[in-house]
Amino acid sequence: MSVPTNRPAGKRVLLMGTCLCDAFYDDVARATVEVLEHLGVSVEFPENQTCCGQPAFNSGDWPASRKVARHCAKVFQGDLPVIVPSGSCAAMNFHGNPLQFEKEPDASVDSLAKRTWEVMDFIANGLGVTEWKGGFEKPVRIAFHRSCHSRGSNSGEATLRLLESIKNVEVTVFGQAEQCCGFGGTFSVTFPHISGRMGSLKLDHILESNPDILVSGDMSCLMHLTGLARIQGRGIEHLHAIQILRNSIPGLAPSPA
């Protein structure tokens, strides 16, 4: 997989909030807005957005996923960059869609592919922010799980660089980092045993590095991993990388509950 070249950047963007943030992780979408605004970017959120269509695409029901993708492309039409706090949904826009529309090209879907950025990639490579001028009072050990759908994109490198530049953040090193967490969307439903074993193994490696927070660019991986961890009695604090950026800026960090 590779990311499109010459994507538009700039200080006006559309936010694709993702269905997971819509349903569970509202604070991730919120942090995305707050961080982008902190960088002087104006963020619009098209109300009619739903999902990128990935569940149907991965299940092989392409007529269904093309229908959702067309809706999505219509909602995000125009020429503004589309920013997504998920490597997986971003890859759906710029890699999955071209694949499923190979035999029936669609101009609006094609346009969406050429304007989509995963948020950390956008901050580092779209806005050119390579150091994050934030920090924490006390040292924080972060285990960064590089989500698989960011393979071949710039998101992993961008996230790592931004996280490592934060004052008092140490990114831990753990074994078999290239291995998938085992979520895979519907895979975790149709292959529950394999998915659970993969997740537990991933947790073993992550926890061995003794992190304070588990961080990723995809809440789907974190939902799966921390859901497993909690049932296994080894819960761990987890945040999206964009929440770390936000929380490291004193004026933006949410006050402790």
Partner: protein, 467 residues
């Protein structure tokens, strides 16, 4: 909603011992590959892409390169046979063996031979056929099936192998020291080599410019198998042709490193043809059987990239599903990511039966990342999922997507559903409507539903204007 996926079911049945063997063997393979490639090359990805491009080029001109290879081989006195199907290949080989009066032979490791179940076929036809690769030899003794492309017995540990040797009376009392096992196999096999009348091999590459066959092995068994016999038969998939000897610089450097983390395999044989007048030994007769067996169908499909495969097994090693389920879960010669693409296509008449294989993936892309010929395996898996759906192949545990598509294209319905979803916070897991979902929730907790909260926050905050 019916049952569970076959690979999932298989993974539930394998013993901890077998799973540990597969896990250890494959993860150490991944580590070794990573280290040797990154130590030796500044940008291994560039090399992988180059190899993929050479293979793609060859596949696009396969007819021309095959004709060229045939011409060069024939000029050196090699007999060429073409086999369209597995049965054609088996009959061609049997015919050659009978014409030379062969009753006993040794065979080195060949995935093409595995693919057509050559060994049992020859034995049925009264020809003694001994596997000379140590792993394949053990598989043969156990009546087992290989579970990995380069490490056929990755699923066995040394204790099991020692028990097999004890049972078969190879080398005396029980001893599970790998060195002792290897030495005992060596003594046993050497006698057999000398009794053989033919040697069967595969080929890793066939150079179209010179007709040279290249075999990469670690045990020297193919070389040993050929030395004392008058007849050599190489069974070769038509996609093994590469344009020129020069290209070996790319492929040999990638093959050993990707397969076993070696810079080069211990033996790399370059076979010119039958023995020449001034060579003291080696086969006087050489036959090459070029086998199609579904390959041209794959070439014509939208998954042709899978024919770039050089059978290194790196995708199997790195695949988390392969590691959990083992190669046997894939019910065909080729397991793991490459098998999930190749098997349903290659054995076209078994497509419906094997259409579940492409589903056994999280589409994580690790296979593509390690592939020495840069095959976009996840894309091919997705295309096969689409094909299965289009052809109405029934699938276990598939989740109907039409309701999702309706919801995701009806924005107001979507928003209502999101807000309503919070009620789920107060419902017990047991009311989940379908079994897989209950299973899912049995292993994991879901986060608290916050449906619609982000939209509410956004609409309530003072509007920010930047321009």
């Amino acid at each position: 909603m019916s049952g569970l996926q076959p690979i999932e079911l298989y993974a539930r049945t394998i013993t901890d011992e077998k799973q540990a063997s597969v896990m250890d063997g494959s993860s150490s393979g991944t580590e070794k590959r990573f280290h040797v490639l990154s130590e030796d090359y500044e940008d291994p990805d560039a090399l992988r892409r180059l190899a993929g491009a050479i293979k793609d080029h060859t596949l696009h001109h396969l007819g021309d390169y095959l004709a060229k290879a045939e011409q060069a081989l024939t000029a050196r006195g090699v007999h060429i046979h073409y086999a369209d199907t597995a049965e054609d290949a088996r009959q061609a080989i049997l015919g050659i063996l009978r014409s030379h009066g062969v009753q006993r032979l040794t065979k080195s490791k060949s995935m093409a031979a595995e693919e057509i179940h050559l060994n049992p076929f020859l034995i049925e036809n009264g020809i003694e056929c001994l596997e000379s690769d140590l792993g394949e030899f053990i598989i043969q003794l156990d009546g087992d099936e290989p579970s990995h492309i380069v490490k056929p017995i990755i699923h066995k540990n040394r204790r099991e192998i020692a028990s097999t040797f004890l049972r078969e009376g190879i080398g005396g009392e029980y001893n599970d020291d790998p060195e002792v096992i290897t030495r005992r196999a060596r003594v046993h096999l050497r006698e057999k080599y000398m009794e053989a009348q033919a040697g069967i091999t595969g080929a890793n590459f066939v150079c179209a410019d010179s007709g040279r066959l290249v075999l990469a092995t670690n045990e020297g068994n193919s070389r040993f198998g050929m030395a004392p016999v008058p007849v050599h038969i190489a069974l070769v998939g038509i996609e093994k042709v590469i344009p020129s000897e020069r290209d070996l610089a790319v492929f040999l450097n990638l093959l050993g490193r990707s397969a076993t983390g070696q810079q080069l395999t211990v033996y790399t044989e370059f076979i010119n043809g039958p023995r020449s007048a001034n060579q003291p030994d080696g086969p006087e007769h050489m036959h090459v059987v070029f086998m199609d067996n579904g390959r041209t169908d794959v070439l014509a499909s939208d998954c042709a990239e899978i024919l770039r495969c050089i059978r290194c097994g790196a995708c199997q090693n790195v695949c988390p599903i392969y590691r959990q389920a083992s190669g046997h879960a894939y019910r065909s010669t080729y397991g793991g990511p490459v098998g999930a693409v190749l098997s349903p296509l290659l054995f076209g008449d078994r497509f419906a039966e094997l259409a579940d294989l492409p589903k056994a993936s999280t589409l994580c892309g690790a296979c593509n990342e390690v592939c020495p010929v840069d095959i976009p395996i996840p894309d091919l898996l997705l295309r096969l999922r689409d094909k299965a759906k289009r052809e109405n192949v029934p699938s276990a545990a598939s989740i109907p997507m039409a309701p999702f598509a309706t919801l995701a294209t009806s924005p107001s319905l979507w928003r209502t559903a999101m807000t309503m979803s919070k009620v789920m916070n107060y419902l017990p897991v047991d009311v989940a409507p379908v079994r897989p979902l209950r299973d899912w929730l049995g292993q994991r907790t879901l986060p608290e539903w916050h449906g619609g909260d982000f939209r509410k926050w956004l609409s309530k905050r003072p509007k920010k204007t930047t321009d």
